[in-house]
Amino acid sequence: MTKNVVVGIGKAGINLLDEWILAEEPSGLFYALDADFSSVEGSLAERRILLGKEATKGLGTCGDLELASKIFEEEEPRIEQILEECEHLLVLSGLGGAMGSAGLQFFSRKASERIKTLSSIAFLPFHSEAFSRQDTARKTVQELLEFPHQFIFFSNEKAKGVFGPADDPLRVYRNLNKKVSSIISCWYHLTQAATEEAPFDSTNFPSLLFVEDFYSFSLRGVEKLPDKIQPYLQPAKDVGLEQNRKVAWVCFFLSPTKTEEDLRSLFKAEESLFDRFYLSIIRENRENMDAREEGFVLIGNAAGEKFIETEIEKQLERTDTILADNKSSTQPDDGLQKDSISTGIFTKGYKTVHKGVNLDLPAFLRKGISIKI
């Protein structure tokens, strides 16, 4: 039996999987699943499965969550094999679209039934994406609460301005994928190194974590790390919910010459700042280990159901607030609103700016009027 299998579902999941394969060139079983022929066909994964061939003719589900769920149920015999041949499963997906959302729910349910460990990395949509996508993401996260697995949620929106310019979501998304692929590496190495004596403990992975910040570092840069962590604690404190927990997860690829204590001592001061502090150390027996002495710090909020509901609601609210507040917010020097919301046919030509507000952007969005379609 294979120890670990990584599955990328939907366009976002497959993109992330491909990014990791490109960076690590790992050996193992990796699956790309989607109803869209173009995304499955173009994947670097060894095993590519086109789902719902009959229903969508390879054209994808076009955001139809119901159809995607139906496809997963119908294709169960083909997918079951993936679960049967592994001990640990890592699911990569985007939430908001149909296949990623339905797929993550499906695998979570099946893994629970078969008592397999499942970890997942999922992206939450940009605020500029359609309300229906935000809604799907919210519902999916709520559904996932009932499963005892490890879920890490990355907000695409929060990555704006951190992993790329705020007005270039494509670049943000690409760089975020690159960074997140190091978490896949971490999971992959930890599961691969597990033995009967030292089994993979999935509780070493933070569960239902909404990532606030992500910071990669090398051993040489570790001494400076505390300063860099400090500012990011504030957002977690501000949430002000009893159930909210501030969580940090440090994952490090350590050379055999260093001990775990060496690393742990560096984070002594930080451990007390968080409600939960995870430290994962991966030892690699590569020759050139100096180059590999690097890791990442992931800081976020993890908590119970109430917190998660609030967090997702907050995201939706934020879409309204940000857009509605454009009039009052400080505008960049050119007076134009730097947002990635489409201006449709007005993308070309002169922008209409009135009192610092780009009037080419949809009025109902800027005014925060909710439209149920």
């Binding site: 076009c62 449709g344 030509g349 080419d360 009025a363 109902f364 439209i371 149920k372 379609i373």
Partner: protein, 412 residues
């Protein structure tokens, strides 16, 4: 073969965002306009009243001219051109001349001097003066008059409403027409032309605001006490409503335009909540239901914003607290259900849908508010034509020279 016309011919041309319209009329005895016809062709790559793709736009203009010639049997050689764009600015300006310590009798040369002074006003870099519309003259004792000739005063003040635009952007429009070997008789701000088509003298005296809800732009002009006191252009029009619908419903722009035309409304009511529309989406394999209420909300949000921007601007003007007139809506957007009520709610003044003043000849265009600008261009042209007819051959030569100089002004 074109007929040789017995009467002088007037042609109005408007390069609009949604269409190019060309109106042709005869100027008959006593200055009566006889409408021969209007030709239209869809605008290609014109955004917010400005040309984005020169060649495509020129082709549309060419199509409209050719169709107008075919429809009216007139060889079009010169046109009155409507000018608009979000870059158009308007402001009021006063100029004063001294008539000596003992005063002097005011004559034509004093008025010419005032006009020449106002035209010398420094404009922002790159801007060019389009219109200098006289508001009023005032004498040293504060008397206001429209015609001060023959009166005595120590000084004479003239107040003008000036309209300017960015020269480079106007050049594109002008060249687009001139390169088709069509002469431009004169330029006219679109909304000024529209007002000529819909307002009577008494309406102007009572106070009137004309708001043209065009596809790419929303223009407005204010008459208070019979004179123009304010005008403005906003780079937001009915295309924005369509664009909002397209983005919200995730449907192509032409389909959103169809929805707006056939089902568009600004009326929120209990009926609209229940109603649902079926729309086919090229991106989706099957038809889907869209709540009617959502369409109303999307459109209303945009139209409200447009009216609020206009109101904000009007509130900053000195005439606004004293304004008791009526607001007239025109342009394609005025056909949308509930627009009058919405405007009335925001402005707090009586709102009416504008109607074209009567024309002789072809009557089939008079109920088309989106054609009122080209109809107004004919009335604007009539003023110039009548003047030159009055002045005879010398006047014609003078107006030709002025036209030539005007064209140079734009093309340099």
């Amino acid at each position: 073969m074109f007929w040789k016309k017995e009467w002088p011919i007037l042609v109005g041309l408007e390069i609009g965002t949604s269409k190019i319209a060309c109106s042709v009329a005869e100027l008959r005895e006593g200055g009566e306009l006889y409408l021969l016809g209007i030709a239209e062709s869809p605008s290609l790559n014109v955004r917010k009243g400005e040309i984005v793709d020169f060649e495509l736009a020129q082709k549309s203009v060419h199509d409209a001219i050719v169709e107008a010639e075919a429809k009216t049997n007139v060889a079009i050689e010169e046109v009155y051109l409507a000018i608009s764009g979000a870059h158009i600015r308007s402001f009021n300006s006063k100029v004063v001349i001294s008539l000596g310590e003992d005063g002097d009798r005011i004559d034509q040369k004093h008025l010419m001097e005032l006009r020449s002074l106002v035209r010398q006003q420094a404009l922002p870099t790159g801007q060019i003066l389009l219109h200098d519309l006289l508001k009023t003259y005032s004498l040293d004792d504060g008397t206001l008059t429209e015609n001060p000739i023959g009166l005595f005063s120590k000084k004479l003040t003239a107040e003008y409403h000036l309209i300017s635009g960015i020269a480079t952007r106007l050049q594109t429009t002008v060249r687009c027409v001139k390169e088709l070997s069509i002469d431009i008789c004169n330029y006219c701000l679109s909304i000024f032309a529209t007002a000529q088509a819909v307002l009577t003298r008494s309406q102007k005296m009572q106070g009137a605001i004309v708001i043209d809800l065009g596809a790419g732009l929303t223009d407005y002009i204010v008459y208070h006490g019979g004179i123009i006191v304010h005008s403005g252009v906003i780079g937001v029009g009915q295309d924005h409503l369509t664009n909002d619908l397209a983005l919200a419903l995730r449907i192509p722009f032409p389909q959103a335009e169809e929805i707006k035309k056939h089902f568009g409304s600004f009326k929120l009511g209990s009926e609209s909540i229940k109603k649902r529309l079926t729309t086919s989406n090229h991106l989706l394999p099957e038809e889907r239901l869209v709540p009617y209420n959502a369409i109303v909300k999307i459109m209303r949000a945009r139209q409200e914003e447009i009216f609020e921007i206009i109101k904000e601007d009007l509130e900053m003007q000195s005439f606004w607290p004293h304004f008791t007139g009526t607001i007239y809506l025109t342009g394609g957007g005025s056909k949308i259900d509930g627009v009058e009520e919405l405007a009335q709610k925001i402005f707090g003044h009586p709102v009416k849908l504008a109607e074209s003043l009567p024309f002789k000849g072809d009557q089939s265009y008079l109920d088309r508010p989106d054609l009122y600008t080209v109809l107004g261009l004919l009335r604007y042209g009539r003023i110039f034509e009548m003047e030159s007819l009055k002045e005879g051959l010398l006047g014609k030569m003078r107006s030709s020279l002025l036209r030539f100089l005007g064209n140079i002004k734009f093309l340099n």
